[in-house]
């Protein structure tokens, strides 16, 4: 293919690549967004003994600015499947449109067969892989949670299109901050209450440490009976530590 000379021009987070030898039909260079603009933050999703619990905050960030504060991040594809994603929000919405279209075709067929969470997870993986191969990936980590054959099902798909079926899914900053909480306080036999507390604890820690996190979260639960998305809740976090109040550290510095 020859040598490519890439000129990178950074404009408001968007990188324009101008390959020297490649010319498109209309003489314009190929431009793909390489950084996400409006993002959703971490997803924390766990199995419990009756189904799957997924938690997300209700904020969409514009860089570091918490621009949209009351966003419903869950898409109910059918009564046994929920889709959530961290990363670029417009890509999440595009994939939602895609999944809904697939579900609608099932409804139109009207033959009693519907896709389940496993089918959707793999379909998403194929779709994200396809776009990644074009050099224009969906900049999302997708999470599909649902019930398959009566058992809880949870899968995460990374921007490369790799599907991973897991019992505990953490995306975004939760990947770094939350594993110890999940490992120590949760296992697959947990009941809904225990799993819910672990999810809340994860988001508390994220609010303390992740600059883009917000303390308002929403939880979705998928069981055999269907999908319930709870009203958003505000996390109880502690900011009146003695050290903050007496400003002990500051005293040391000023001495």
């Amino acid at each position: 293919m020859g040598n490519f000379e890439f000129q990178k021009i950074r404009m408001f987070g968007r990188v324009e690549r101008k390959p020297a030898e490649y010319t498109e039909v209309y003489g314009e260079p190929v431009k793909h967004t390489s950084d996400p603009i409006v993002t959703g933050s971490s997803v924390v999703a766990l199995h419990f003994n009756g189904g799957v619990i997924i938690g997300m905050d209700t904020t969409s960030s514009y860089g570091k600015m918490a621009m949209y504060k009351n966003v419903n991040k869950f898409e109910v594809i059918n009564q046994q499947t929920v889709y959530a994603a961290s990363g670029e929000v417009s890509d999440f919405q595009e994939l939602t449109r895609f999944l809904r279209e697939v579900e609608r075709r099932s409804l139109n067929a009207a033959d009693g067969y519907t896709h389940n969470a496993h089918d959707y997870a793999n379909l998403l993986a194929r779709k994200q892989y396809q776009m990644r191969n074009k050099g224009d990936p969906f900049l999302v980590q997708s999470v599909i949670g649902g019930i398959v054959d009566g058992k809880p099902y949870l899968a995460v798909i990374d921007p490369f299109g790799t599907p991973l079926q897991k019992t505990a899914v953490l995306t975004g900053y939760a990947r770094y901050l939350c594993p110890p909480i999940v490992q120590n306080y949760w296992d697959e036999t947990a009941d809904e209450e225990k799993a819910r507390r672990v999810v809340e604890e994860c988001f508390k820690v994220l609010f303390y440490r992740d600059a883009k996190a917000v303390d308002r979260i929403q939880i979705a639960i998928v069981t055999e009976r269907g999908v319930t998305i709870d009203e958003p809740i505000k996390l109880k976090t502690k900011w009146d530590h003695e050290a903050f109040l007496t400003r002990a550290n500051e005293k040391l510095h000023t001495q």
Partner: protein, 238 residues
Amino acid sequence: MIKGVYDVDCGTWSPQGKLIQVEYAMEAVKQGSICLGLKSQEYAVLCSLKRAPSELSSYMDKTFKVDDHMGLSMAGLTADARSLCKYMRNECLNYKYNYEVAHPVERLIFKIAEKSQKKTQSVSTRPYGVGLLVIGVDQTGTHLFETCPSGNFYEYNAYSIGARSQAARTYLENHFQKFSKASLERLILHGLKALKGAVQEETDFNTRSVEIAFVGLKENFTTLKEDQVDSYLKKLAD
């Protein structure tokens, strides 16, 4: 059987409200050698009688595997059957690639029916001249479907198409209530008995001309080998 001026193409209705070209296509199915299918709750079985174009040739296969969970037998134009089978195999592969799950049987039959129907609404192409008996398993259990050149499809507990299939159908109608809980061996023997009923004196009914295939909830689509067919034919003779 020439129906006059209304049988030239699929774009012409006859005064009796029929598409005569489509009926001619279904006649091609009736002229093909017999194949039949039957199913239980756990297995679905196909039995076919193969024809040899001449003494020197081998018998033409009628049974094709579509995917691990699905296969078909045909009556009519073998070339048309191969073309449809290739389409079905491709669809099954794509579905498996996208969803990591076997293609639901009825959905695929619906696609075939759509394909067949298009050909009945065109002046420039002819309908498919083959009827398929498709057996498969999916989430909803075992299935046996028949597809027609007309674009219709039907689901059956047991059915037979091709030459002298009425004799086989009579046997199946009399016995189909026993199929639901039958073992695989019993099911195959029922199929062979039904097949035998449709065979004329001078037709070959031996290991080379009989084809048996089955698929089960836990077993992939398999066409029986000659020695297995032989043992079943021996059991039939007893």
